[in-house]
C-alpha cells in the first residue's frame, strides 16, 4: 500500500464525539495527522451574549456534557468575579461536592470508553453501571442526570435532600471496591500493558509547549493541579494528594486517572462530613433581584440596579476532569455578559495530536486518543 489519507470521523467508533481525525498512513504506520474540529460548534460563546448570567449556566452543562458541574463552576467563578459577589461557605462546599463527584463520573466514563477502544468490552458496561450510581446522587439533589443547572451566581440552587450524605457514603464505599476491579481488568492484563506501555509518549516539555494540561501533563511527571496551585472554592481546607506518574505514556495516564478517582473519594469523604456538621444558607444574601430570579419582571428599582451595577472582568480557572479550563467573562453592566471566552483543556490537548500520534500504528490511535479523553462539546463549544 502506498501512502494515503484516511478520515477517522466524523462518524467513527474511535472519535467518541463528533470530530474528524485525518490520518496519513503508510500501511499501518501513521505519517501525519490533522484533527478537524467544529462539527459540534454550537456558538455557545455567542449565545451567551444573549443570555442572562444565570441562563448561561444552562449552556455550560451542555458545553462539556460529561463534566457539566466543572464547567458550571468555572463560569460561576468568573461571573462572580465580574459581578463582585461572594457565595456563602456551604455553597462552596456543595460546589466542591459536585465537582469531585463529577470528576468521578467523568473519569469512569473515560475508563469505559478508553478500555472499549482497546477491544475490552466488559469494562464499558461495568463503568456505565458504576457511573449511574453517581448520576443517581446528582439526580437526587438536582433532578437531572447530566444537565443540572444547579449552580447559580451567588451560590447554588438548593440544599441537599435529607439522607443524602449517607447515600453518598455508600456510593463511595462501593466505588472504592470497584476501583480494585478496574485495575485488575486492565493492569492485570499482559495484553493491556503490552499495548499501552510507551505508547503515545508526550514528555513534560512538549506538554508545556503545546498547552497540554490535566492528567496528560501529570502523567508526564509534572505535579500541577490548579486545586493545589491556584486553589479555588474550599480546596485549601481539604486534604488530598496530586496524582502524578512518570511514564508520559498511555499507562501513565491511566494510572493518574485511577489515582485521581481515589483522591476524589478521599476529598468527598471530608466534604460529606463537613456538610453533615455545618448547615447554613446556600445562596448569597443581597443579590440583585435580576440575578436571583432571572425570569421575574424587573421593576424600576431592578432596572436602576442593573444600570448601575459595577462593571468588571472576571477570570477563573478550574481543574476540570480533562485538564485546566479557564473562563473570561466581561461585564459591561446589564444582565447579559458582554463577552464570554472559554479555554477548553481538550482543545489544547487535541491540538498537540501530531506530537503524540505520529510514528505509531493505526491500531494505536484509539487507545492514544482514548487516553486524551476527548469531549468534543467543550472543544467546539
Amino acid at each position: 500500500m502506498s501512502e494515503m489519507w484516511i478520515n477517522m470521523g466524523p462518524q467513527h467508533p474511535m472519535t467518541h464525539g463528533l470530530w474528524n481525525l485525518r490520518v496519513k498512513i503508510d500501511g499501518e504506520m501513521i505519517l501525519d495527522v490533522d484533527p478537524e474540529m467544529g462539527y459540534l460548534h454550537r456558538g455557545i460563546e455567542k449565545i451567551s451574549e444573549d443570555r442572562h448570567y444565570n441562563e448561561v449556566v444552562t449552556l455550560m452543562d451542555r458545553c462539556c456534557y460529561v463534566a457539566g458541574f466543572a464547567w458550571e463552576h468555572l463560569y460561576i467563578l468568573a461571573s462572580e468575579g465580574a459581578l463582585h459577589i461572594q457565595p456563602p461557605e456551604r455553597a462552596e462546599y456543595l460546589r466542591v461536592l459536585c465537582d469531585e463527584f463529577q470528576r468521578i463520573g467523568s473519569h469512569i466514563m473515560w475508563y469505559a470508553a478508553f478500555v472499549q477502544d482497546l477491544g475490552l468490552m466488559s469494562p464499558f458496561l461495568y463503568g456505565m453501571r458504576d457511573r449511574d450510581l453517581v448520576l443517581d446522587l446528582f439526580q437526587s439533589y438536582t433532578g437531572a442526570r447530566m444537565t443540572y443547572e444547579y449552580m447559580r451566581v451567588g451560590g447554588v440552587r438548593s440544599d441537599l435532600p435529607p439522607g443524602f450524605t449517607d447515600r453518598a457514603r455508600q456510593v463511595l464505599d462501593w466505588l472504592t471496591q470497584r476501583y480494585e476491579e478496574y485495575d485488575q481488568l486492565c493492569l492485570g492484563s499482559t495484553i493491556f500493558r503490552k499495548r499501552c506501555d510507551d505508547l503515545g509518549t508526550l514528555k513534560a516539555a512538549d506538554c508545556v509547549a503545546h498547552g497540554v494540561t490535566g492528567p496528560m501533563l501529570r502523567a508526564a511527571g509534572m505535579k500541577r493541579d490548579l486545586r493545589r496551585d491556584r486553589p479555588y472554592a474550599v480546596y485549601p481546607q481539604l486534604d488530598f494528594d496530586v496524582a502524578v506518574a512518570d511514564g508520559a505514556d498511555v499507562t501513565a495516564r491511566y494510572l493518574v486517572r485511577m489515582e485521581e478517582l481515589r483522591q476524589s473519594v478521599r476529598i468527598l469523604r471530608q466534604v460529606v462530613d463537613w456538610l453533615d456538621r455545618h448547615p447554613g444558607p446556600v445562596m448569597a444574601e443581597q443579590l440583585p433581584r435580576w440575578l436571583g430570579a432571572p425570569y421575574a419582571p424587573v421593576g424600576a428599582e431592578g432596572y436602576l440596579l442593573k444600570r448601575n451595577f459595577p462593571k468588571g472582568v472576571g477570570f477563573s480557572s478550574v481543574e476540570e476532569p480533562h485538564g485546566e479550563a479557564q473562563a473570561y467573562v466581561v461585564n459591561e453592566g446589564g444582565e447579559h455578559p458582554y463577552r464570554v471566552k472559554f479555554r477548553s483543556p481538550v482543545f489544547a490537548n487535541i491540538s498537540a495530536a501530531r506530537q503524540y500520534l505520529v510514528g505509531y500504528h493505526v491500531a494505536d490511535i484509539p487507545p492514544i486518543m482514548g487516553s486524551v479523553d476527548v469531549c468534543v462539546g467543550e472543544v467546539d463549544r
Binding site: 474540529m37 467544529g38 444573549d50 508545556v208 498547552g211 509534572m222 491556584r230 472582568v313 477563573s316 463549544r381
Partner: protein, 158 residues
C-alpha cells in the same frame, strides 16, 4: 509577582511599547502593550519571566477597536498573567504567538475566524470551528443571531 514588579521587569526590554500593567483578578496582573512590541514581549515573558505555558488566546470586539488577550501561566511561580493589546477594527492584525508558544496555533485560528483578527506569519491560518469558506465572523458585535420566528420563516420552504 506584583504588577509593579512585572512592569519593572518588562519596561527595559520594551520601552514605550509597554503601555501599563494593572492588577487583575486572580492573576499577577494585566500587561497592556502596543502591538508592534508583541514578539519581543512574548519572548521576554517566556525566556526571562518563565511563563512557558500559554493557556489561551482570545479576542474581544469593542466595536471601535478589538482587543487580543493572552493568558500565560508560570509553573515556577504558579500564577497567571494576562497580556492584552488593542488593534484597530479596520486593520485588525497582530504578530502570531505560535512561534513562541506552539499552543497558540489553534487558539489563534479560532480568534481569527471568530473575531476577525489576522495573525501575521501564522503557519496554518485555516478555519477551525466554522466550515471552510465560511464568510462571517460570528463573535463580532455586528453579527446578530436569528430570532426564532425569523428562523422559522427562513427555513420553512425546506
Amino acid at each position: 509577582m506584583q504588577p509593579a514588579d512585572l512592569e519593572a521587569a518588562l519596561r527595559p526590554k520594551l520601552g514605550d511599547r509597554l503601555l501599563t500593567v494593572e492588577p487583575f483578578a486572580r492573576t499577577a496582573g494585566r500587561v497592556r502593550f502596543r502591538r508592534d512590541g508583541a514578539l519581543d514581549l512574548f519572548r521576554t515573558m517566556r525566556d526571562d519571566l518563565a511563563y512557558r505555558h500559554l493557556s489561551m488566546v482570545g479576542a474581544i470586539d469593542w466595536v471601535d477597536h478589538r482587543e487580543v488577550f493572552y493568558v500565560l501561566w508560570s509553573d515556577e511561580r504558579t500564577e497567571y498573567v494576562l497580556l492584552s493589546a488593542d488593534v484597530p477594527a479596520d486593520d485588525a492584525r497582530i504578530e502570531t504567538a505560535s512561534g513562541v508558544w506552539p499552543s497558540a496555533n489553534w487558539h489563534e485560528r479560532e480568534a481569527w475566524e471568530m473575531v476577525d483578527v489576522l495573525f501575521d506569519h501564522h503557519p496554518d491560518l485555516r478555519h477551525l470551528l466554522t466550515p471552510d469558506g465560511y464568510a462571517f465572523h460570528p463573535l463580532l458585535r455586528s453579527f446578530k443571531l436569528h430570532e426564532p420566528e425569523e428562523l422559522e420563516v427562513k427555513t420553512r420552504h425546506v
